[in-house]
């Protein structure tokens, strides 16, 4: 079977569901290290699966061979709690037959198994096509016959010995435990290497290697009589980067501040609920952006595809809101960006072979576009005049079907390079919030409520004392239209998560959000005590 489809035939194959545009060819490596190309045997497997899916009736198919390596080291106080490594490796085949999808995946990469799996995907698609009234079509994509990309990084975290990672965490814990009142510290570092080879029946063949790293420190202070405890999570940012990023965080030195703040929270003033101005640090604001802008501008939600779990969005139907809905003030600009340096959703191509790009979602305060895939972009093309996908398809691993997932979605900084002090200076009575805490938002992304890690009262343009038990509750359109001032490029930071859940079966996506520090007026603050 493997020999039935040669290189030339493969490149010639065109999905009936979507035409192929002029080729992009080999992409230059984006990082300091050259991006590796595909392993020959994996390439053969991908071609074999594509051939089998096509032979079984697929009008279009895409195949992913994915190997994900995880490594984690976790500690509490002066001891290890976990050291682990895992590897998962397999193949997933997605087939489109008469406008219906089918998906099958297996860990068994033997030829017979790969062929059987590809046929099963086509068989499931054929079965579903019989009961589907609407036929899926795909937007065209540029063919990339030899794509290569790797996360820019200097030090592969998998080359750093476990002992070295543990010693860094112990040193961090020890420093925190030296702060009077601190009783517990948990710390960890997780590293991910995700190597995926994508082949599509459009003729694309793309090898990508993603390196991501997530350090974490959480300090707990307990009152002397055990009547109260408070935690301060460092809100360290997961990053598409190497070990050099963790070194740069200098956790053993910086943990002192987090530890002191955990202790301070025990005796801090409990917030007076009511209407406050809030100044949101990027370590906090990223999550508010993620929940209220990131998820509300997913096109699949607007079209009803996620109605049963994650929900729909208030930004629907697209025809009513695109280029009309006023999301925020005129200085508010939000971009989808697959090229964000250090971003967890940064890539060379998405899981449908669409090249990484940056595009405006909110421009001068107005909603102008959504996050799109090849399947869905056609539903808004008449309005946006954009006929190609922005490249937002992603499957968590080989066993997961690709579907619309969030790219890095970032709030652009002020064109004037205002500092944090400039922004705080514009507040008479307010609360400064740092770090993400409790978070919850409704299924159409209207009503949200967010806590944080450290809260400071602002009086007359200065931070004056610590507060505790703070959360704010707002409605997305009013909240973003209360945005009064944003910091400049110098305050711009990324926030991120490795585990944004969506879909059924639920899949995780790693994603970042960049933003400057920002001031919002007249926000409803509650007391959580």
């Amino acid at each position: 079977m493997q020999d039935r489809i040669g290189r030339r035939e493969f490149v010639k194959m065109t999905g009936a569901a979507g035409a192929v545009l002029a080729g992009a060819g080999v992409q230059p490596p984006a990082g300091q290290k050259p991006a590796p190309g595909p392993d020959a045997s994996e390439r053969d497997i991908v071609l074999l699966a594509l051939d089998a899916a096509k032979s079984a009736g697929a009008d279009y198919a895409d195949v992913r061979v994915v190997r994900v390596n995880n490594e984690s080291v976790s500690t509490r106080e002066r001891q290890i709690t976990n050291v682990g490594k895992s590897e998962t490796y397999g193949i997933g085949v997605r087939a489109l037959v008469r406008g219906a999808w089918g998906f099958a995946a297996t860990r068994d990469l033997a030829k017979e198994s790969v062929v059987r799996t590809a046929k099963e995907a086509a068989g499931i698609a054929a079965a579903n096509s019989k009961i589907n009234p609407v036929k899926t079509t795909l937007a065209p994509a540029v063919k990339t016959s030899d794509g290569r990309w790797m996360t820019p990084h200097q030090i592969d975290p998998f080359t750093i010995p476990i002992e070295e990672k543990a010693q860094l965490l112990f040193k961090t814990n020890e420093a925190a435990l030296g702060v009077r009142g601190v009783r517990f510290v948990n710390s960890s570092v997780s590293s991910v290497r995700d190597s995926r080879l994508l082949g599509t029946s459009d003729g694309s063949l793309i090898q990508q290697t993603f390196i991501r790293i997530a350090p974490s420190v959480n300090v707990t202070a307990v009152s002397a009589d055990n009547s109260d405890f408070q935690t301060r999570n460092a809100a360290l940012v997961p990053m598409g980067a190497g070990w050099e990023y963790v070194i740069g965080l200098d956790m053993p030195a910086n943990v002192l501040r987090w530890a002191e703040e955990a202790v301070m929270k025990l005796t801090a003033v409990s917030v007076t609920p009511g209407v406050w101005d809030v100044v949101l640090h990027p370590s906090h604001l990223w999550l508010t952006i993620h929940e209220s802008i990131g998820h509300s501008t997913e096109l699949d939600r607007a079209l009803g595809y996620e109605a049963n779990y994650a929900g729909t969005t208030f930004l629907a139907p697209p025809a009513k809101v695109l280029q009309k809905f006023k999301f925020g003030p005129e200085f508010m600009n939000v971009n989808g960006n697959r090229n964000e340096p250090g971003g967890c959703a940064t890539c060379g191509w998405d899981d449908e072979g669409v090249a990484a790009q940056s595009w405006p979602i909110v421009e001068k305060g107005i909603l102008v576009d959504y996050q799109t895939t090849r399947e869905l972009v056609g539903s808004i093309s008449e309005i946006t005049k954009i006929r190609e996908s922005h490249g937002c398809a992603y499957g968590q691993d080989w066993s997961s079907i690709p579907f619309p997932r969030m790219p890095n979605v970032s709030l652009m900084p002020n064109s004037r390079d205002l500092s944090e002090e400039d922004v705080i200076g514009d507040v008479q009575r307010g609360i400064y919030i740092e770090g993400d805490g409790s978070y919850s938002i409704d299924q159409q992304r209207y009503n949200f409520q967010f806590g944080g890690q450290a809260f400071w009262e602002i009086r007359d343009g200065r931070r004056v004392r610590m507060l505790r038990d703070v959360a704010y509750q707002a409605r997305t359109p009013e909240f973003w239209n209360s945005l009064a001032l944003i910091g400049g490029r110098r305050t711009y930071r990324l926030g991120a998560t490795f585990s944004d859940g969506k879909g059924q079966p639920s899949q995780l996506n790693a994603v970042s959000h960049g933003c400057p520090i920002a001031l919002f007026r007249n926000v409803n603050v509650i007391n959580t005590a």
Partner: protein, 452 residues
Amino acid sequence: MQNTTTRHGLTAPEARELCDRVLRFAKADHTRVNIESGIRGFTRTAVNRVTTAGVADSLSVTVTSVFGKRVASVSTNRLDDAALQRAVRDAEELAKISPENPEYLPELGEQQYVAVDGYYASTGELTTETRARAARLGIQAAEAIKASASGFIDVQAGSTAVATSNKLFAYYSRTGVASTLTVRTPDGLSSGWAGDEGSDWNTIESSRIAEDAVRKCQQWRGKTLLEPGKYEAVLEPAAVGMLLENMMGAFDARAADEGRSFFSKPGGGNRLGEKLFDEKVSILSDPAEKNAETSPFTGAGLPVRREVWVEKGVLKTLSYSRFWAERQATSARPPAGNFIMSGGNATLEDMIKETKRGVLITRFFYIRSLNPRILSFTGLTRDGTFLIENGRIQRPVNNFRFNQSLAALLSSIEMMGRPGRVANEAGSVGRPIVVPALKVREFNLASISDAV
């Protein structure tokens, strides 16, 4: 064991053979092998059509190697000898260079387990076509009222096994299925939801799910404003399950003893033996609960038995790791595998009749911890919220965000229904939850959600 022709996941002899194969490669002081194997099939619908469907097999082997108190784990999904040898070698090398874990206790030897059969052929043999037919029922019911159906059927079948170099071997096979359906009006102004979850496909009532989701969607049409506030509340079983599932992690003795839990006693220690909830509240877990079975052993091979966590409102048990149990001179008790709550005989209609002014809640969404010291959580109502006045449902109302202490909730129970297994928020096969409908004196609906 239920009769089956095709069982997914490794059989017990296959699992034992694989464990033995791995253990033969091992050179560490102690070695543990964990195996997970099986399949997951799913059918997903939205806007009245199947949007995706698929199946994936899986098999993972995790090797835990121990030298003294140095411990590390490596997992792989490759089964050839070379890959397994590499996994063992990697785990051993990793363990040797890992710092000591002073809390490590030697691997367990042979144990006695409760006999549990959680594998149902009805679920294991479910085909793509059967799932599609069940999904079709939801689509047809929605089409009949010119509405839109979105649903999910999740099927998992497989086995889990653990073996140690101290001659422990344990094996368990199980199935699980969840089916949920949301029906929305085309104008986007009303939405209804229903769902089931079980080990046995024969307990999933696809027609009733379709009828209930359609009925909710129709009843919730024309919702009007209700101000936020503290209301009496009637919580349907799914709402109770989604809420109370969140308190399971709190039953941890160590967190309580260390002063960082609702169950911590001011001044030190924990609140075992204290009456903390209404006396109608009993909470237990039982791996052998019919249609809500769970593994009778933990990943380390520790037996999981029936436990009563709360009895008549009194905290009776907390979970103890082996280390913490030894330290506190008691026996180890793993965390609950499932959540089973006591009930009563009241129907939803009885509860509504007894409500002067309150809110009927169908289910919740996006529940997150707010303040662990008082077990408070925030989240939102969804897919059918109604005002009850003078014993009758008066009108559909807007959704709310709630900020509510579960401890306070469990102290304000007035009526309870018959417990049953409920679907979870994600609509996927998850930890089995068996709970009743509840009528509570007070529920804090803190702000309005415009979401539908």
